[in-house]
């Protein structure tokens, strides 16, 4: 194909949806350092990026900013207004407020812990009922199909026990690939944290045993990697959970 014939493929190539034979032809031109195609792709990237801004406006929630900054371990303090009051005044104010805030925080944490214990107790009770139900000799199995749901991820962190990952609706990794878990510390690089696959029902459980610095952990993520695993992520994050 000539560059002129490939001209209408530049934008689709740049957003990753072009198919063969045009894709193979265009890649051949690019591999041969075709100046016209390289310039065409450059301009296409510009067109594409402008097109991505022509969308309806939707405001994110205020908590998103906090989550984003927490993910990289950098939460803004928001104390810029203090300078007008004077650092000393602010420090006194902080000192007075600190004890009361800490006190309230501890009470709140206690309430959360109680609620979690209650909820865990209910879950345990339900699980015991389910096991008892399944163990009944007269129980019959019916298999159904529902609406396909997106993958879900739950991650539990424990400073003594490590990381427990539980995923649902996760399709089995394709041949030659496997899921890899990554523990990403605040402001640090992802650490390889074990390989796993999902079962026929799309469920997966994976444990990274050992002590864990929970406070410095920002995100636990999952990628699809070659079946031998990788030391750094080579594929996009499929699932992630942050504190």
């Amino acid at each position: 194909m000539t560059c002129e014939e490939l001209r209408d493929s530049y934008e689709l190539y740049a957003i990753g949806v072009l198919e063969d034979p045009e894709k193979a032809e265009l890649e051949r031109h690019l591999a041969e350092n075709c100046a016209a195609c390289r310039e065409g792709i450059r301009v296409a990237r510009q067109t594409n990026s402008v097109l991505l801004t022509v969308i309806p406006m939707v405001e994110p929630s205020k908590r998103l900013r906090k989550k984003v900054l927490a993910a990289v371990g950098m939460e803004r303090t928001g104390w810029g207004w203090v300078s007008s009051w004077g650092v000393v005044t602010a420090a006194l104010l902080v000192a007075v407020m600190y004890l009361s805030i800490e006190d309230r925080r501890h009470v709140r944490e206690l309430e959360i812990a109680k609620a979690e214990m209650h909820s865990t107790g209910l879950a345990l009770s339900k699980a015991q009922q389910a096991i008892s139900f399944l163990n009944e000799p007269d129980t019959l199995l019916m298999v159904g199909k529902g609406v396909k749901m997106p993958p879900k991820l739950r991650v539990f962190l424990n400073k003594n026990r490590g990381v427990l990952l539980m995923a649902n609706n996760l399709p089995a990794a394709p041949a030659g690939k496997i899921y890899e878990m990554w523990v990403i510390p605040k402001g640090g690089a992802p650490k390889p944290s074990g390989l796993f696959n999902s079962d026929e029902q799309g469920n997966a459980t994976h444990i990274l045993p050992g002590a864990l610095d929970v406070d410095s952990t920002a995100v636990v993520a999952v990628t699809l990697e070659p079946e031998a695993g990788s030391t750094t992520p080579t594929m996009p994050i499929i699932l992630s959970a942050g504190l």
């Binding site: 990753g16 301009v43 994110p60 900013r65 993910a71 990289v72 394709p174 996009p236």
Partner: protein, 197 residues
């Protein structure tokens, strides 16, 4: 027909973007907050446009900024266009999610990963994203027929190939290609005039 509204995108100050990218590479504590303040709304709006779920959109926006943070060392802050790179990363996270839901994940993940490498955004015009161009493209988009608009939407906001579009729209592949070709020519020509103006 889906109506588009342009986001008034105040990124004409390319020098500020260059400085921001440099500060991100130096891991300055305030740089990530500034990046979010500059691109948080558009990133979220773009992802929401694709996934249509506020919770998922927030998770993917977080993932977008984390990915930019982790890969910014490969970005050429002297020559690169930060906005287009951030938007591409955001769009890819959203498309990747859609494809994983549709079971199209494995085949396309590499494709998306390669088209968002920071080095690919090293020679774009820095102020390519500004509200004027967004307005030009919106006007051009409105000139397209319903079918032309649909194929553009399916490619950019659902990540479908032309074969997948033909299947979805129950139309011959050649017809879909014709709609796509004519739509892109219109958008390219209109925007090209604005870019060179």
């Amino acid at each position: 027909m889906i109506i588009f509204f342009p986001i008034l995108f105040a990124v004409a100050d390319s020098e500020a973007d260059r400085s921001l990218a440099e500060r991100l590479k130096r891991r300055e504590p305030q740089a990530m907050a500034d990046l979010y303040d500059r691109y948080g709304r558009i990133v979220y709006a773009l992802i929401f446009r694709v996934v249509r779920d506020t919770g998922v959109a927030e998770d993917l926006a977080q993932e977008t900024f984390l990915r930019v943070w982790n890969r910014v060392q490969g970005f050429d802050h002297e020559r690169g266009a930060l906005g287009p790179w951030v938007l591409t990363v955001a769009r890819n996270r959203a498309i990747d999610y859609l494809r994983s839901v549709d079971g199209r994940m494995a085949a396309s993940a590499v494709e998306l990963d390669t088209n968002e490498h920071p080095s690919l955004f090293g020679d774009l015009e820095r102020d390519v994203l500004n509200s004027d161009r967004s307005r030009v493209l919106r006007a051009a988009f409105k000139k397209l027929s319903d079918k032309q608009q649909m194929v553009i939407e399916l490619a950019y906001f659902e990540g479908l190939s032309q074969t997948e579009m033909a299947d979805r729209m129950k139309q011959p592949l050649g017809t879909v290609k014709t709609w796509m070709r004519s739509a892109l020519r219109t958008l390219r020509d209109e925007l090209g005039e604005a870019l060179t103006a």
